[in-house]
Structure formats: C-alpha cells, structure tokens
C-alpha cells in the first residue's frame, strides 16, 4: 500500500495521479462561445462604468463586452490589451470580486455581477489561441532601457516601451521569465503553463532581449546600469520573505511551496504533511492552504493573528479555502512547538485586538502539525541604498519615478504596489509612458 491522506508525517504521493489531475485542473474554466454571448448580453453598457473605475488598469470593460456580444472577440481582446497587456493572466488571477465585478451595477441590482473576468478570458484566449500579437512597434528610437525583473510590472513596462520603438533589456535573477505570474499564482488558476505562453506571446512585439540568472543586488549595481542604459526600470518584486523566529525544521516559506507546485512536473513528488498549518491571512496563505489540501493533506488550518475581516485575502478567496475543507483559526498567533516527531504540536496564543493593537491573552491553542507554511509577507531582497524607502518599499510617484533621476520602479517592490498582478501591470505601463516622454524630449 502506498501513502494515503491518513498516513502520518510529511509524505509525497498521498493521492492517485487522477486525483492530482482533477485537483489541479482549471478552477474556473473559460466560457464557451454560447456562454459568453449569454453573459455579454447582461452588461448594461454603463456610463462612466464603475467596473472601469475599479480596474487598476482601467480597461474599457463595457466596450469589450459589447464587442463580444456583437461577435468580435478579437476586437474585444485588443480593447483589453490596449490597457493591460497581461489581460489574459489578470482574467485568471484578479480578485474580480473586489475589483470590476465588485463594482458591477448588477452586483447592486441582483447580487450577481456580470462575469467580467471570465468574459475577459474568453476574449483574450480567443486572440492568444490564434497566436495573434496585435501590436506593431513604432520606428526604432535607438534608445535602450534596462528592466529589472520580469514579473507583471517588468513585462508590462517592457512591452509598452517596445511599442514606442525603444529597445529593452530585461535582467532576471531566475532562470526563467514571468516573476510571480510564473511562480506565485495558485496552479489551478493558471493551468497549461499559461504564464509562460503569455510571456512568449508578449515578446512577439520584438525589441525585448533578456539576461537570465543575473542579479541586481543593490543601488550601486543600479547606478552602473544607468550609465549603460538610457533609463532603468525596477520591477524586482519582493524577493525576500518575513520569517517567524521559531526554531523548527517543520517551518517552510509558503511562497517557496507555491513556486515548487507551479514548477512541478509530478505533484506526487511533493511531500505534504498530514497536518498542515499556514500562518498568515493574505492570498498567499489561502493559496498555500488550498493547495496543501489538494495535495492530500488531511487537516489544513490557516491561522491568522487578527479577525477574519482583517484578512488580506478576499472573501471570495477565504470561501474558496473553506469550501476546500481548510479550517480557519483567527485571533491566534504562533508561539512555539511542543512534543516531538509525529506528535509535534504548534502552540498558538489567542489574541484580542485592543485599540487596533494585537494583545495576547492567556488562552492557548494546540494544533497537531507536521508542516507549517509561513505566509506573513514578503520584503525587498534588493538593497536600495540611498533610494527613498517607505515601509521597506521603494517610494515612487504616480509616474513611477523613484527619488533617483533615471530610475523608475513599479509593482510590489514599490510603496504603490498592492500585491496584485493588475496593479503591477498598471504601474509598469505608466512608468513606460513616463520613460518614453522623458526620452522623447
């Protein structure tokens, strides 16, 4: 007999290959043409539509839905890509219930918003499946820009710069492009290696070269780049994580786990605890918790130090976790471990929030645990030196300008980042426009 959900310890291959396949299939498959037509008919074509206002990239949503409803999904895709070149990934990963769909007037009217995310995916998939890249480059400007990091901010910036005729050189520390789109999004949201396909599709614009496995570690490196390039854009993301100082080999970083899953060829090779606890309250905690369950963990608990309403994860995501059988323990902060071997337990202290501050009470909780994933936030890996910093992130203005002339930044590494792909895309795009204006002077 092989391993099962009930086998003690942290073990691989708890499920059958068929179960893995079912568990990690597309959580929200694309709409069929018929479904898309029915759904598109629900859009009211609002004036100054709230969905557009709610979209960080400001996609003209009523227009693209009208284009779908009139049988022109390629035109719809172009409308989307005009504002958001990573519209395909955003259609899959955006917390739409907090953004466009949350603002939809049908949400007000019927508690059933137009399924904007799925319609967006229908349009973008239609175009991308045909391998059409709908943009041409302007005449070569002879300028060259260094883009640090190839996540959503870097890719959006690169594409927009290339469109304006500039040359781009992406510097990426990993051996592949895509950043968090490639490694940080739950597997079931982006099946069939979509992130990589999207990068390849995006690069068809031309004029974008890249260097992999190359680290830009500090401001000094950046200064060197400003000598070699006409401008520098930093979209480095948050490469480092916050850690708990509890000495136990059962503790692991949630982002590493999620990345491991995304890059896995065989889910059966990934060991997972019978009892898993995820520490944190954001999207990363949810992704780690749900995927632990899908890998065959019997008991998965997300422990968060504040209340449910304080969690960074959207209500939709929290419900997804609950639906998958993940338990939620709120107002609990990890203190240490007790016991040993397969009898080890995680000790948590009950908290109260007094005047907005967390206070530990005398109540204690013990959770049996084989594996603990920490999802308590990421931080800048890069040493910013004298670059202006706020709460550990690079300060930028609305144009993406940092405190150092010639250096722009965008995405999660900046103070305006929101840990969202779509926000990073907007920042990368807008910085590219500013760089273009600057270089065109």
């Amino acid at each position: 007999m092989g391993n099962s959900v009930y086998s003690p310890g942290t073990l691989p291959a708890r499920l059958t290959p068929d179960e893995y396949e079912a568990n990690f299939s597309d959580i929200n498959p694309g709409l069929s043409p018929h479904e898309a037509m029915v759904e598109a008919d629900r859009c009211y074509f609002c004036y100054d539509a709230p969905c557009v206002t709610a979209c960080p990239t400001g996609i003209d949503i009523p227009l693209f839905i009208r284009q779908i409803s009139t049988g022109t999904p390629r035109a719809a895709a172009k409308t989307i890509f005009d504002s958001n070149i990573l519209g395909g990934m955003c259609a899959r990963s955006c917390p739409t219930e907090n953004l466009c769909e949350g603002a939809c007037v049908r949400e007000v009217a019927e508690s059933e918003p137009v399924e904007i995310g799925r319609l967006q995916r229908f349009a973008t998939d239609t175009l991308m499946d045909e391998n059409i890249h709908p943009y041409m480059r302007a005449h070569e400007t002879g300028k060259i820009i260094a883009v640090i990091g190839s996540g959503p901010a870097g890719l959006a910036c690169s594409h927009r710069l290339a469109m304006h005729g500039h040359n781009v050189e992406i510097i990426e520390e990993k051996p592949f492009l895509g950043g968090l789109n490639q490694t940080g999004i739950a597997t079931y949201k982006t099946v069939n290696d979509f992130a990589q396909q999207e990068v390849e599709w995006l690069l068809k614009i031309g004029g974008i070269k890249f260097q992999l496995n190359k680290v830009v570690k500090d401001l000094e490196d950046l200064h060197k780049l400003t000598q070699e390039y006409d401008a520098v854009f930093v979209g480095a993301g948050l490469g480092d994580v916050n850690r708990l100082h509890i000495g136990s080999d059962k503790f692991q970083e949630a982002v590493t786990f999620i990345e491991e899953l995304r890059l896995a060829n065989d889910y059966g090779n990934i060991p997972i605890g019978k009892n898993v606890v995820v520490i944190g309250g954001g999207m990363t905690a949810i992704d780690a918790g749900v995927q632990s369950k899908l890998l065959g963990s019997e008991n998965v608990t997300i422990a968060y130090r504040r209340s449910r309403s304080d969690m960074g994860a959207s209500e939709h995501e929290i419900n997804l976790a609950l639906k998958n059988g993940v338990k939620l323990v709120t107002n609990a902060v990890p203190l240490g471990m007790s016991g040993d071997g397969t009898d080890e337990k995680l000790l948590l202290g009950r908290t109260e929030i007094i005047d907005g501050k967390i206070q530990q009470t005398e109540d204690m909780i013990e959770l049996p645990v084989d594996q603990v994933f920490m999802a308590i936030g990421q931080k800048l890996e890069f040493d910013p030196g004298s670059l202006a910093i706020d709460a550990g992130k690079i300060v930028v203005d609305s144009h993406g300008r940092t405190s150092v002339p010639g250096i722009w930044a965008g995405g999660d590494c900046t103070n305006l980042g929101e840990d969202l792909t779509v926000t990073a895309v907007a920042q990368g795009r807008d910085a590219a426009e500013d760089i273009h204006r600057h270089l065109s002077k």
Binding site: M37, V38, D41, R42, Y44, F45, C46, Y47, D48, A49, P50, V105, R106, V108, A109
Partner: protein, 433 residues
C-alpha cells in the same frame, strides 16, 4: 369568476385566443394539439386552388433577436398551404367534429375572379367550419401572382372580392388586412362596404431581417438569394395596435368587429388589443417561439386581471381605451411632468445620464457618490430616461399639480387643459376674439 367566453362575428369560442392562419394551423395534427392545449379557436392556414402551391426547400424564416437571443421578430417566406385542397378540407371537417366548441375559421386565397371564389366556398361550407377569413394580407410570394396583399393594397379590390364572397356563402366573412399600406382606414372601409362581418389585422410587414456578411445574401438565403418576407412577432405589436385603434375610432368602421393580430405574446399584449377595440385576438409567433402551452398563461393572466378589475365578460372592457386615443392636437399641453429617480432602486448604471446628456436635454446631473438627479429646470419630461433604465419603476414621470411652478418654463401649472388648437403659437387656432 369572470368568463373568457367569446363571440366574434357570430362565432363562439371558449376564450378569445385564436391561433392565426399560419404554419401552426396547417394540419389536423397541429390544430388538435392546439385545442388540447386550450386555444379557443384557429384560423386554418390559407387554402388555395389545386394544384397546390410549392414552397422553397431551403429556410423559410429569418429572425431578429433581442438580448439573450429572445425572438423579437420573425420573418417568413412560406406561402399558403402546400397540401392538396381535399386533404385540408377533410382534416378541417374532422377537427370541427372532434372539437365542436372551438372556433374553426378557414383562411382562403384564390385568384381574383368570382368563379374561383364561387368554386371554393361551398367546399369550405361542407366542412362545417365556422367562418372564412380572406387572406388579403400576405406580402410575399402570392402577391407576385396577384393575390394576398396585391388585393389588400387596393381598396376597390377588397370591396369587390368581399362582395363576391358574401354573395356566395352563409358563413361569416372576416377580411384580413395588410399593414403594407399608407392608411389602414381605407382598406377597412372597403371591407365594410363589401359587406365583411369583421376585419382581422395586421398581416405581416414586408421585410428583410438581415444580410449575411459573408455571402452578401439576404436572410433567409435560398441558394445565395433572398426575397422580402412577412415580419411578425413582438417587434410589430406597436404597428398593429395603432392600426387596430385607427379602425376602431374611425366613424365609418367603429362598429366593425376587429380580430387583433400582431406580436401578441402575453396576456398583457392580448388585453391591450381588446382595450383598443379588438373583439378577440390571434396569435402566431409566440406559439412558434414557445409552443402551444403559452395559452395557459394567456388565460390565467387575463382572468386574474378581469377579476382584479371586476369585469365579468370580455365585452365588458372591449374598446375601453379607444376613446383615449386621440390626435396630437388634442393633447393637454398644461399637463406637466418631471422625471424622478428613486435613489433606493437606482443601481447607478448611469444610462439615464448618458442618453440625456448625449441625446436629449442635459437634464440629469451626476452628484457625488454617483447619484443621479433630475434638473427640473432642464427636464422636458421626454421619458427617455424611463425607457432606458434597466430597473422598472426606478425612474417615473411625476405630474406637477396645478399651482406648482414648472422650473423649466417658470410658469405656474394651469389647472385648465390647453391643447394645440387653443395655443397662442398656433396661427390656425381659433382667433374669434
């Protein structure tokens, strides 16, 4: 309990809902199913002389869709029955025998000579059918052969043929009118002069529903070519209502029974026709879109409404709206309304704002928090905002009571009506003093 019993042009039926002469009434099988479902009567699909006509063997229908592909308009290029006369007559007799309480009227279209009519009428009488309907309406195909709307478009022909038919049968004669004319009153008057017991309208409207953007052929396409068809369904209801009202309020035809036809899909549509003077109604497209079962809703809806209004019989309210149809010049210009937006019902789509700002009178303002409000100084009460609002009842037109000031004109609303014939700007108005 109110009764739906109906007597139209002397023809009795258990309810005023008949199926119009059309594909659903072409065969005994269909008509029997219709009667089992509860329809009060049928007008059998138009009979012609043998040898029977032939239909195209490609598509016969074209369509216009609303949101969610709901069928708003249907167009057809089907001709009259393509079965031998004898087969139809035999089936009509059988149906009437099996359903003696239902109305069975036979639609006829034969060449424009008296002999043809003299020939067919006795054969129809043989079936014990309750009456005949003269198809002077079909705008496609048969009209090229001098029948259908080719007759209906010439009042003199209507009168002539009606007279022939009346002279050659004891059955009630209903004349079916085409809307493809400039003024419906002329053909209606002609039918009456010819002795018609009733008119029925409207037949279908000449139409091309769409053009194929790949083949450049009109739809429905027959080997790359198309022809105009007859348009029907919800899209034509307003045209039909107006034509029914025109006949009902015309002094020469106000006593002529009308069978109302055109886009009737629900009990509400049917009731509107009855209020505008129709004695009964005929339905086709709604049945072709949903099947015969809709008649249950037609009956229950009308009964509930009659109960609410305390009407006992269909005749109690027939024509009650006719007196309220008037000419524009008689409308009260001192009746002032303003649009009002119910903020609790508003879902903030902003459609009212977009259309008022772009296409009307700039009478809606967006306030902070995306609330929309009417500017009384600008609102001309056009009603466009009401019509585009997706939420029924959210925007309403509220009357300014006499004594209140219309902020747009600065004038106090007069309690006395004033119409165009009395208006100072009307140079043709009475100027006796």
């Amino acid at each position: 309990m109110p009764s739906l019993n109906s007597t139209f042009a002397g023809i009795k039926s258990p309810n005023p809902f008949w199926l119009a002469s059309a594909p659903p009434t072409d065969k005994e099988y269909n008509v029997s199913r219709a009667f089992e479902a509860g329809w009060g009567g049928v007008v059998w699909k138009t009979l012609g002389l043998d040898p029977h006509i032939v239909n195209v063997n490609g598509p016969r229908y074209g369509a216009v869709w609303g949101p969610d592909r709901s069928l708003m308009g249907l167009n057809n290029i089907e001709l009259i029955t393509d079965r031998p006369l004898g087969v139809n007559l035999k089936e009509i007799k059988s149906v009437k025998r099996n359903y003696p309480d239902r109305a069975v009227v036979v639609s006829l279209m034969v060449p424009c000579d008296e002999e043809s009519w003299q020939g067919i009428l006795p054969q129809v009488e043989e079936t014990d059918a309750d009456g005949v309907e003269l198809n002077f309406g079909c705008p496609h195909g048969m009209s090229e052969r001098g029948m259908g709307s080719a007759v209906g478009q010439v009042p003199d022909y209507i009168e002539m043929v009606t007279r022939w038919v009346k002279a050659n049968t004891r059955m009630p004669v209903i004349v079916k009118l085409t809307p493809n004319i400039t003024d419906i009153r002329y053909p209606a008057r002609a039918a009456k002069k010819g002795g018609a017991d009733a008119v029925s309208l409207i037949n279908t409207v000449s139409s091309i529903t769409s053009v194929n953007l790949d083949t450049f052929s009109p739809e429905p396409s027959i080997d790359g070519k198309g022809t105009h068809g007859g348009y029907c369904g919800p899209a034509v209801k307003p045209i039909a209502l107006n034509m029914v009202a025109e006949i009902a309020r015309d002094a020469e035809t106000s006593d002529l029974p009308i069978s109302g036809i055109g886009g009737i899909s629900t009990w509400r549509d049917a009731t509107e026709f009855l209020l505008l003077g129709a004695g009964n109604v005929q339905v086709c497209t709604a049945a072709m879109a949903y099947g015969f079962r809709i008649v249950s809703e037609l009956q229950s809806g009308l009964l509930e409404w009659m109960n609410d209004k305390q009407f006992e019989n269909v005749t109690d309210y027939q024509g009650l709206a006719v007196g309220n149809v008037t000419d524009w010049q008689n409308l009260n210009l001192n009746f002032v309304t303003k649009a009002r937006i119910d903020q609790d019902l508003c879902i903030k789509c902003g459609r009212c704002y977009a259309v008022c700002e772009d296409t009307s009178h700039q009478a809606i303002v967006i306030n902070s928090g995306r609330t929309f409000e009417v500017i009384d100084e600008e609102c001309v009460a056009c009603n466009l905002c009401v019509n585009v609002c997706p939420v029924e009842g959210c925007i309403t037109m509220e009357q300014l009571q006499p004594g209140m000031v219309d902020e747009r004109t600065g004038q106090t609303v007069d309690e006395n009506p004033l119409n165009w014939t009395q208006h100072p700007n009307n140079v043709l108005a009475c100027t006796t003093d």
